[in-house]
């Protein structure tokens, strides 16, 4: 009831705002002697007003807007599960909102991938025509990018960063809620693009194609700009939280590695996300105002877009993969029962990626026709980024060496991140090297490579995190047998699919095509079948999660005997997180160090902080 009311009032005010926008456009256009309705202009202004209306109606007016007018603020409170449908300031509620939303989006976008593989089973057109294929491909791309950017950061990051640093909430709880409630309009806009012709320009939206294509591009642009806002504001919130809200004693040298990875990721999001937004703003202005950023005939330049776009979109892959590294290292240390090896170097590696990440973007443009003198520097910078990445591998491999590896599902997923990224990293060298990239650019080799890094590095990390923290978030235990089945099924079919996919790329199959030469039919059939197996593995996951959340056995507070702060409180955590603020004494990963504790709760009896795995 509460839930319904909250969302319904958001929808209502959103619609009012939308039509207000349409009306304003109609009035202005009418007065200046144009048609009252122009699809692109009206949608743009309608969307902006509708978005504000939606946010206000869904709860921002009561919790925030009133303050600007000197009125008393209030929150809509809802009991039980219904609180997940309200504008809630609790970072744990927001974390789960993000996580569930993006798993649903992940499954939808995965369904898109299945349809594409269906079409590509044989040469020639079977399931789709070219137009439909391009629409599905673009939608798969942008939805998966959104999942990769926000699922771990927004979901697990929101839930666990405050818990792991001993804070009672994020620094700006209202801002945090705002970032989540921007997501439903984004999803709605993207999912409605097929009704306006479908985005045929892929997720990269290169002009001039994106300027001359259907009006659905406007929906795409507005959605992505809004999503960028989410990413920036979320990143800002994380940075301030981690700098100012750490528990007493939690120095930078004792910060859990997952928190470090979120910190670095947040800087990336804050620094670079504007690139995508500005690039799409330029496309939008070219489209609705007839401006000339990319029209070569009137002084524009299509390469401008690529520079601005990749200025964000290369760092974006680190926004995607660093949280995966963070979770993997976190899990590997706890399940190896050993301190995280070379902790300082691992942190240095993350910071090194942050530093170098901003100066490598043009390696996506080696064949773009940009000036020749740019190739060398970007080649060097791109190869150099393998050095800080190597430090992450050092930490992982050094930790498992001589460890007491406990091979539960989170650990298996954590190790798989290292395995997959080793493959993705090595194939990256071929793409960083200009002479090989000239042939491989825009082929299935690239497709295989980035699926290895993003899916293999981040999505596997996401699953590691979900299984690892499932008992903490729900208070119940998942089914270990089904989880292991999911792991092996997903791991093997993933590797078969994408390892084989390198080969058609070398052979001359370019990406984003609905059809290909007949000589590549056999390998594509093989890839399609193993891709279907990969897709089917998520049925096991969804069943396990849903069933265990409702009916699973009640979990202990600390089933993994882990030392970090979030495991020292009840599962699921109480609304206020900690009955009293924790005091941090030692390193979070000091397994095997006698008498060491990470955090204590002064006043309460000192909790055994997970050390000495076997008590």
């Amino acid at each position: 009831m509460y839930a319904l009311f909250s969302v319904a009032s958001g929808l209502g005010t959103g619609l009012i705002g939308f039509y207000l926008g349409l009306g304003l456009v109609a009035i202005v256009r009418g007065l200046t002697g144009h048609d009252a309705y122009d699809e692109q202009v009206s949608i743009t202004f309608g969307y902006v007003f509708g978005l504000i209306g939606w946010l206000m109606g869904v709860g921002m007016w009561g919790a925030w807007g009133r303050e600007w007018f000197g009125l008393r603020t209030y929150w809509r409170k809802a009991p039980g599960w219904q609180r997940y449908f309200t504008f809630s300031p609790d970072h744990k509620v927001i974390g789960l909102q993000y996580l569930v939303t993006f798993i649903i989006v992940f499954l939808l976008a995965g369904l898109g991938a299945m349809l594409m593989r269906w079409e590509l089973m044989e040469s020639g057109m079977q399931l789709f025509n070219h137009d439909q294929y391009n629409a599905v491909m673009g939608l798969h791309g942008i939805l998966m990018v959104a999942v990769a950017v926000a699922a771990v950061v927004g979901g697990l990051g929101n839930y666990f960063v405050p818990l792991m640093i001993g804070a009672e909430d994020m620094a700006f709880p209202r801002l945090n809620a705002l970032t989540y409630w921007l997501i439903p309009p984004v999803a709605a806009m993207l999912l409605s693009t097929p009704f306006l012709g479908g985005i045929e320009h892929g997720w990269t939206a290169y002009p001039p194609l994106s300027v001359v294509t259907d009006s659905s591009q406007v929906l795409f642009g507005l959605a992505v700009i809004t999503f960028g806002l989410t990413s920036i504001l979320g990143g800002l919130n994380f940075i301030i939280t981690i700098i100012y809200m750490r528990a007493p004693g939690l120095t930078w040298g004792k910060l859990p590695i997952f928190v470090w990875s979120m910190f670095v990721t947040s800087w990336m999001a804050l620094l670079y996300t504007q690139g995508f937004a500005v690039a799409l703003l330029m496309v939008l202005l070219d489209r609705i105002a007839g401006m000339s950023f990319f029209n070569a005939e009137t002084g524009g330049d299509p390469l401008l877009y690529q520079h601005v776009f990749w200025f964000y979109s290369h760092p974006a892959v680190y926004i995607m993969v660093l949280p995966g590294f963070g979770i993997a290292l976190e899990v590997i240390s706890h399940f190896s029962r050993k301190p995280l090896f070379a902790y300082r170097y691992a942190v240095g590696g993350l910071l090194g990626i942050l530093g170098l990440g901003g100066v490598v973007w043009a390696h996506h443009m080696f064949t773009s026709g940009m000036p020749n003198y740019l190739h060398g520097p970007f080649l060097v910078a791109t190869e150099a980024i393998s050095i800080p990445t190597g430090l992450v591998f050092l930490a992982a491999l050094g930790t498992i060496w001589m460890g007491r590896l406990w091979l539960r599902t989170p650990m298996l997923f954590g190790l798989a991140v290292i395995f997959n990224f080793a493959c993705g990293g090595v194939t990256g060298i071929f793409l960083a090297d200009v002479p090989t990239d000239i042939h491989l650019q825009d082929t299935y080799f690239v497709v295989a490579h980035f699926h290895y890094t993003i899916v293999g590095g981040e999505i596997f990390g996401l699953f590691a995190g979900i299984y690892y923290w499932f008992p903490k978030m729900t208070g119940r235990m998942y089914n270990e047998k089904l989880a292991q089945l999911h792991f092996w099924w997903m791991f093997i079919s993933f590797n078969v699919t994408f390892f084989v996919m390198h080969w058609p790329g070398i052979q001359g199959m370019n990406r984003r095509i609905a059809d290909y030469p007949e000589s590549l039919e056999n390998v594509n059939l093989f890839v399609s079948i193993s891709a279907f197996l990969l897709g089917a593995s998520f049925i096991v996951f969804v069943y396990n999660m849903v069933y265990s959340w409702i009916r699973g056995p009640v979990a202990e507070a600390n089933p993994w005997a882990a030392r970090t702060i979030e495991w020292q409180i009840p599962s699921p955590p109480p609304v206020e997180n900690f009955p009293e603020p924790p005091l941090v004494k030692g390193h979070p990963y000091d397994y095997g160090v006698p008498g060491s504790v990470h955090a204590v709760f002064p006043g309460a009896a000192t909790l055994p902080a997970g050390g000495g795995g076997g008590q």
């Binding site: 007491r404 052979q507 095509i513 397994y591 095997g592």
Partner: protein, 257 residues
């Protein structure tokens, strides 16, 4: 400890040997130009260089999982190595020098061969013996043999004919959106941009034609909308004499238009 190190190194060596053997496999499409030979060579070098790195990670992972792993809860904690000593510095030095090596060879050296001068784009000298002007449009190509005044496009026997053993320079433009001019058999590609001309040079080395081998095709490699996937153009590489004949045979048709 020493026992484990020796065993893990043995696993690494075996895996590397297997990997390097597999890397010798012929993964590549037909070789049609000297650029393609260079590409295949550099690709192989990179596999040979990258394989030990890859197998090192795999070897350590598998060794640790099999020797140190258990499905039950471990009864004790592992040894508290912190990795603050010499180890990480050695690692940093090794990975650093590996990265530096790849940057210089085959990275920058290959790049220097690829771009002999500021405007040229393609291996080898850019003193082209034949210049072909390529215009990309949605969704096909026009090939213009500028010196001979011959134009080939969809209407007139759609085929890009090139003489063998010749430096060919392509001058590429686009009339609408961004396309990319790519011939898999030559392993070279460059985008076709509206508003500017890009260049690409290849030296053909082998005869071949699209009907026998689809690596001999121009393929648009930059998403350009609806019929992007079928924006192809057959290529035929013929002996020089035959090329001259073909060019002559095209001329009257071109002037008649």
């Amino acid at each position: 400890m020493r026992r484990h190190v020796i065993a893990a190194v043995a696993v690494w060596v075996v895996l590397t040997a297997i990997g390097e053997t597999l890397a010798l496999a012929d993964l590549y499409p037909t070789v049609g130009s000297s650029e393609a030979e260079d590409f295949d060579r550099i690709f192989r070098i990179l596999i040979v260089m990258g394989m030990p790195v890859f197998t090192f990670v795999i070897a350590v992972l598998f060794y640790c999982v099999i020797r140190f792993g258990s499905f039950g809860k471990p009864s004790e904690d592992g040894p508290a190595y912190r990795g603050a000593g010499l180890g990480p510095r050695v690692w940093l030095a090794v990975t650093g020098s590996l990265a530096l090596t790849v940057m210089i060879f085959p990275g920058l050296t290959g790049l220097a061969e690829l771009q002999p001068d500021k405007s040229g784009y393609g291996w080898g000298e850019s003193n082209a013996e034949l210049v072909v002007r390529v215009v990309g449009f949605r969704w096909s190509w026009t090939m213009e043999y500028a010196d001979a005044g011959v134009t080939v496009s969809t209407a007139q026997g759609k085929e890009l004919v090139l003489p063998v053993d010749t430096h060919v320079k392509f001058e590429i433009e686009s009339t609408d959106v961004i396309h990319s001019f790519w011939i898999p058999a030559f392993r070279m590609k460059i985008d076709a941009l509206p508003g500017r001309t890009t260049h690409m040079t290849v030296k053909t080395t082998a005869l071949g034609r699209f009907e026998d081998d689809d690596a001999y095709r121009v393929q648009c490699a930059e998403l350009c909308g609806l019929d992007h996937s079928t924006m192809t153009f057959p290529v035929r590489v013929v002996p020089r004499a035959e090329f001259e004949q073909w060019l002559q045979s095209q001329k009257p048709a071109a002037t008649a238009q």
